[in-house]
Symmetry: C2
Subunit: 398 residues, 2 copies
């Protein structure tokens, strides 16, 4: 069903939707146009782009006989799920960027795609403009995958960059990020790692063929990072980066986590700055690959959306080949690893149940430990760590 | 013609061919096996891999009825051309890594593919394991392409890294690269930029839809770099990198060059070290993308070859969409730009015909100029620059 012309039914007209509208005007070769746009606030949008037809009736767009592809770019994950499934059931191919919805519903969406023989593409959902899903699907899928990790959230990376590069105070960096519109209305999505978590769930499925519910993955952000932590990183000539991490162990287990990490200067990710995302993909034969690009923003993300639209024109669909692999790795949190923990009260240390302690520092204004903990334990006590404002970061020995 | 099983007729059994053989053993899911191998020295190879069938008769492999795909991995560009065209004429799809052959013959090979309706894939030919051609074809092809540039040769980058990172002497770095097998038997291919040139020609076709004969592109390497040049770069807190550069100007011209460049610390490419390749791709909407990976070596390159083999299994072929664009850019060398030139004799300066000179330094042991020259002039006097052992590097004002 190679389509000569793509007629888009668009849901949402925020930064990315508007970016797509502008991009399509610049690229007539794409042979795609927006036929109808569904928005919540009809009043607000209908004045903006005069040549577009707006509605607030989702069914009207889904049932529009001129529409042959749905692009879903709204914030609300539940509403997005309704739209995407309704479209697929009508055998309308869908392009979406909704990572939260995907991370929650991927298994059923994969099933529905297959049942309806209709494509759902979502490269814009993970790392904005970086074609990471497409490459995991199409290029790295024949090698023995070892790990996928990286900076999956642009806002928190922007803040960390301002602190470590420009010597900005933590509070000021946060304010600047807010001013520039880099933070979500609910900033905990970015700063506590939830946004990175959703992307990690999606990437893990494509890299290792395994779906893991977001709730099972230890996720901890940079909200409780203080100046003492920043000083520690500087002394060690490292930088904190918020890292999503998926790795297959030699004994066939799949370890997943989202948390800050002390990155040394010789790592690719050390130099991935500002609002950029950076992903390091490792395979047995191809070795190490590093992909960097803008992880957010209307224009970069709309370019990724258009790449997916164009792929659908050529009948492209994800094959999820890894899911059919003979020996899928098994998700596990049972691994010990080296961490830096800045704590406030001695009872915090009991909570963490260190396997070993390598380094310990106590002064009147700061206390920290470098030691070995179990990831499963961290997952169990996540809430308490946050309540006690403990800061924790992976601190690999390299 | 989605193939259930790929039966490979392999030409060449060097590092990459052997890497492919090992990789296929590890990945049964690839559903591919090597049926017959054509080598020059039958004696040498037949003992190495006991389960493989070797021959020195090319026609035998091409006419083997069990073979349904040809993988061409030999050094000799002329012989490779014969094999690739003979295979395509037999409607046998081909995977090749021969950049020199491709850079010379791409237009006719594109025509032949179309005539025979048979795929020719070659992602391994440019930047080893980095999927740069595939991404230019499939992902970045809907945006307005601005530039593609980067480190396209691993050996010269290894040498420059040893000098700038490890403080190694130029001569020692060269010796180490030779010891580790990073230099071609003819090292001028790497050091004088010819290898980068061939890759640039291939990438340019996929990024901008324009084929430019290698001879028309100014190409200058690092052979004449001296300690004085290295000192200059260090003083300016920059590093020399050998860069292949393709850029579309706002007035629709296509500027191409391969030459050293003084890279400042804030650039992605500054941190691309050792034998890694790194490519920066810029588009109007997606912004800046940076892809890094091993640019050479049997294993990384064989992984790229297997990705192409697998793509052929799914009927993938390059569409060369950019070539059908309405306004193709026109190749031009007529551009002025800022360079650093270390010279030996005052007459060298007349040769270069500087438009402007910004900086000039003369001492008993070194002489250099920072000024503005025309790329077309450099192209005209390339031979003389080399004869006079002049070192020249782009020196952007950033």
């Amino acid at each position: 069903m190679t389509k000569q012309h793509i007629n888009i039914g668009l849901f949402g007209f925020g930064n990315v939707g508007r970016g797509l509208y502008e991009l399509l005007k610049r690229v007539p070769e794409a042979n795609a146009e927006i036929v109808e746009v569904c928005v919540r606030n009809l009043e607000k949008h209908s004045k903006e782009a005069g040549d577009l037809k707006f509605t607030d009736n989702a069914t009207e767009v889904l049932d529009n006989p001129d529409v042959n592809l749905i692009v879903e770019l709204i914030d609300d994950a539940d509403a997005a799920y309704e739209i995407v499934t309704a479209a697929l059931r009508r055998r309308l191919p869908v392009v979406t960027g909704n990572k939260k919805m995907l991370a929650r519903h991927l298994p059923e969406l994969i099933k529905l795609q297959k049942e309806m023989d209709t494509a759902l593409l979502y490269d814009a959902s993970a790392c904005g403009s970086i074609p990471v899903i497409r490459n995991l699907e199409e290029y790295y899928d024949n090698d023995l995958q070892i790990s996928v990790k990286g900076i999956l959230n642009g806002s928190s990376n922007f803040i960390l960059s301002k602190i470590f590069n420009d010597g900005m105070e933590h509070e000021d960096a946060l304010l600047l990020a807010r001013e520039l519109g880099f933070l979500e209305s609910d900033p905990t999505l970015d700063l506590d790692g939830w946004d990175s978590l959703f992307k990690l769930v999606i990437l893990t499925l494509h890299a290792f063929g395994v779906y893991v519910e977001p709730e099972r993955i230890f996720t901890y952000g940079i909200t409780h990072m203080t100046d003492a932590d920043i000083r520690f990183a500087r002394e060690k000539e490292r930088r904190f980066k918020l890292i999503g991490h998926a790795e297959k162990t030699p004994d066939g287990r799949l370890i997943l986590a989202v948390m800050p990490q002390l990155i040394s200067r010789n790592k690719f990710i050390y130099s991935c700055e500002d609002e950029f995302n950076g992903v390091v993909i490792k395979g047995l034969f191809y070795g190490k690959q590093f992909l960097v690009g803008r992880g957010a923003g209307g224009h970069p993300t709309s370019s990724a959306v258009l790449s997916d639209i164009s792929a659908i024109r050529y009948d492209y669909f994800y094959r999820y080949k890894r899911m059919h692999s003979a020996d899928l790795p098994h998700f596990s949190n049972d691994i010990f690893f080296r961490v830096y923990v800045r704590y406030n009260d001695e009872s915090d240390l009991d909570l963490l149940r260190f396997d070993e302690i390598y380094e310990r520092y106590v002064s009147s204004d700061t206390k920290y430990v470098v030691g070995r903990v179990n990831l499963a334990r961290l997952h169990d006590i996540r809430e308490q760590l946050a309540e006690r404002k403990i800061f924790i970061a992976a601190y690999p020995n390299d």
